[in-house]
């Protein structure tokens, strides 16, 4: 009885008592949700076009950010470092296509999936090898990103909003819009969609898969870079982030592997859901449930809708 009260009544009472905390919690969840969504977006881009489930996306985020900060710490001006970092992501895309995707074309998905584990570990090693293992501070101001925070004194409390988080949200929205246009309007975009639908068909109308792959991996790389900057601005840049980056996987399960809106919505559900869960229900379990809540949500979700929120039902054929 008491337990039921604690589970079903108390948290809501508390939400009412301290609305500022509720708003703060939702905002926190919203921001981390955006970041999850951005990583998931990278997954989706690659999965749509090459059918590869890119486990390395999370690491690409850290790697990109690390490269940026690394170049800067070598005394290169911020903007140049940014351009260089983009260049590195392009190189990465080319290398991955040459070294991993091309030799593995037509292999079972699961093999490609495991290959991205290889990429993950290689990037971790490489990144730390070049730039050192210690966490680095993101060069926020040098990139003309807003710093500091604003406190809104409302509802008998206050809500802190960091300017960088607002920026993150805005940039995320812009990027998603750009990608949307890119996919629907541009020639390459349409080519990508063609590839997503059928590799053979794409080939038959003379689209080079290899180019497409380079392009999507590059696109994913840029998404990763942006994500990395945003994330690095909230907490230092280090490979410790990779565990958090894994949270993009449950996001994908919710959103479906091929749906960009799915990634966004999934990201927000997971982000807000886990923060609310941790803050209001976590104490009942001794806290720290954030580390698994997302996965369990996804797991339960899988039981009822394996194809994801926006995926359509799969008909098996023989």
């Amino acid at each position: 009885m008491n337990a039921l009260y604690q589970i079903f009544i108390e948290p809501f009472i508390f939400m009412g008592e301290a609305p500022d905390l509720l708003i703060q919690t939702i905002w926190e969840g919203f921001v981390s949700g955006i970041l999850y969504a951005l990583i998931a977006l990278g997954f989706v881009l690659i999965f749509k076009a090459s059918g590869v489930f890119n486990f390395a996306q999370g690491i690409m985020v850290v790697f990109a950010a690390l490269t940026l900060v690394g170049f800067y710490s070598m005394g290169i001006p911020a903007i140049i470092s940014l351009i260089l970092a983009i260049g590195v992501m392009f190189l990465l895309a080319v290398t991955v296509e040459r070294v991993v995707l091309r030799p593995l074309v037509n292999q079972p998905d699961i093999i490609l999936f495991m290959a991205t584990f290889g990429i993950t570990y290689f990037l971790i090693g490489l990144g730390e090898f070049i730039f050192g293992g210690e966490p680095k501070v993101m060069i926020t101001s040098q990139l003309y990103l807003p710093e500091g925070r604003t406190n809104f004194d409302i509802l008998g409390g206050f809500v802190t909003i960091q300017h960088i988080d607002v920026a993150a949200a805005v940039i995320a929205i812009i990027m998603i819009a750009v990608l949307g246009i890119f996919f629907s309007k541009t020639r390459i975009g349409r080519a990508l969609r063609a590839v997503a639908d059928s590799h053979k068909a794409a080939l038959s109308v003379g689209i080079s898969l290899n180019q497409i792959w380079v392009i999507v991996w590059f696109a994913a790389g840029i998404v990763a870079l942006v994500t990395g900057i945003m994330w690095g601005a909230r907490s230092d840049v280090s490979f410790a982030l990779q565990i958090i980056a894994l949270k993009a996987l449950p996001v994908l399960i919710l959103g479906g592997f091929t749906s960009i809106p799915g990634a966004i919505v999934g990201g927000l559900i997971i982000g807000i859901g886990e923060k609310i869960g941790e803050f209001y229900w976590g104490p009942l379990l001794g806290g720290g449930i954030e580390t698994w809540l997302a996965y369990v949500i996804a797991l339960i979700f899988l039981m009822f809708r394996p194809q994801g929120l926006f995926g359509e039902k799969i008909i098996e054929r023989v």
Binding site: F117, Y121, G133, I289, V318
Partner: protein
């Protein structure tokens, strides 16, 4: 020349179905086992404690994962956690019933991880491939959290860690700080050989065939009357059992104690890599993979400085660590591309070449 099958005729199906149809193979395996046991007398403490014992334990874990990924085609990223379940179950059992011999508990602890494995395997009917992988991540993180946040599991130790209390077999300490590496090595070796034998029986029999069937073409398998859920759950159970036992051995016959983050996701990845590099769907591969991946850092730690030291380039511990990651990643990609069946396949090829020698084809 020595490695010839000519003149060995199989006169019965059972002979033909034997795991080692060739006499040379049978002899070979016996020699290897004999050597392995003799290491207990010739191996240095370092050799036993820091190389052979962990190698065997990792091999066992890899074997467990291989049964699932390699044979049944179910990708799991939760191995570390399932090992943890075994370890904590064993800890509870041996502290609650100190009377019963610890080896019994080590073997029994596997059943607990098997049960947990089955539970987290339930979604495997609806979902496949990376979806399932994510599902197992849920197991990984949830279990790891439980090891940490359920103090009952570690008997409310302030430190939150579990230590191996002293346990003996025939008066000889086998678990706890005073147990000598030799004794522990012999026990680990015996258990691993025993479990390997069982695993080989499983995979060469009906069950193994059914696992491979659902791996290769689950629809066809289903239409042939193989019950998918039962078969998959059996795979989860057996695999988790092996991982659990490996986990219990790791804590009580190797480290002598552990805390929750011993069983973190990197542990899971490492073992998955052992399976991939060793060879999916091969028991011997599990050993080869475990050997390669576990030896790698030790080897690099000694080889690299030896090479670069003289050149005045200092190779710090962390450099080796970074290189280890890079090499690991590169190896995985390399094997997936060049030889998806891993070291095991190379081993076969070598044997095949030897068989037909001196003819090159």
């Amino acid at each position: 020349m020595i490695y010839r099958e000519s003149g060995q005729y199989k006169t019965s199906y059972s002979a033909d179905m034997a795991v080692f149809p060739l006499r040379q193979d049978r002899i070979g395996i016996f020699v290897i086992i004999a050597l392995a046991y003799s290491m207990a007398f010739f191996g240095s403490n370092f050799m036993l404690q820091a190389v052979l014992i962990p190698f065997l334990i990792f091999s066992l874990a890899a074997m467990g994962l291989n049964l699932m990924v390699g044979y049944a085609g179910l990708l799991s990223l939760g191995t570390g956690a399932f090992m943890g379940v075994g370890a904590y179950a064993c800890y509870k059992l041996m502290t609650i019933f100190p009377g019963v011999n610890v080896i019994v508990w080590i073997l029994a602890s596997g059943f607990f991880s098997a049960a947990i494995g089955v539970f987290f395997g339930l979604p495997s009917l609806r979902i496949k491939g990376f979806y399932l992988a994510v599902a197992t991540l849920a197991a990984q993180f949830f279990l790891q959290w439980s090891f940490n946040r359920i103090p009952w599991l570690y008997n409310y130790n302030v430190s939150g860690a579990i230590e191996a209390p002293l346990r003996t077999l025939f008066g000889v300490p086998i678990v706890g700080p005073t147990a000598t590496p030799e004794v522990r090595y012999v026990i680990v070796l015996t258990l691993v050989i025993f479990l390997t034998w069982i695993a080989s029986n499983i995979v060469h029999g009906r069950v193994g065939r059914q696992w491979m069937a659902i791996r290769d073409m689950d629809i066809a398998a289903e239409l042939m009357g193989i019950k998918l859920l039962q078969t998959k759950l059996l795979a989860f159970a057996v695999s988790s059992y092996y991982c659990g036992v490996a986990g219990a051995m790791m804590v009580f016959l190797w480290y002598g104690g552990a805390e929750y983050n011993v069983f973190n996701i990197n542990q899971s990845f490492l073992i998955l890599f052992m399976v991939i590099i060793g060879g999916l769907g091969s028991l011997i591969g599990s050993f080869l993979g475990a050997g390669l991946i576990f030896m790698l850092p030790i080897a690099m730690g000694i080889v690299l400085p030896a090479i670069f030291g003289p050149l005045g380039i200092r190779v710090g511990a962390e450099t080796i660590e970074h290189l280890r990651f890079m090499i690991l990643g590169a190896l995985i990609i390399f094997f997936l591309i060049v030889e998806p069946h891993g070291l095991a396949r190379l081993w076969q090829i070598a044997k095949q070449k030897l068989r037909v020698w001196p003819f090159p084809y």
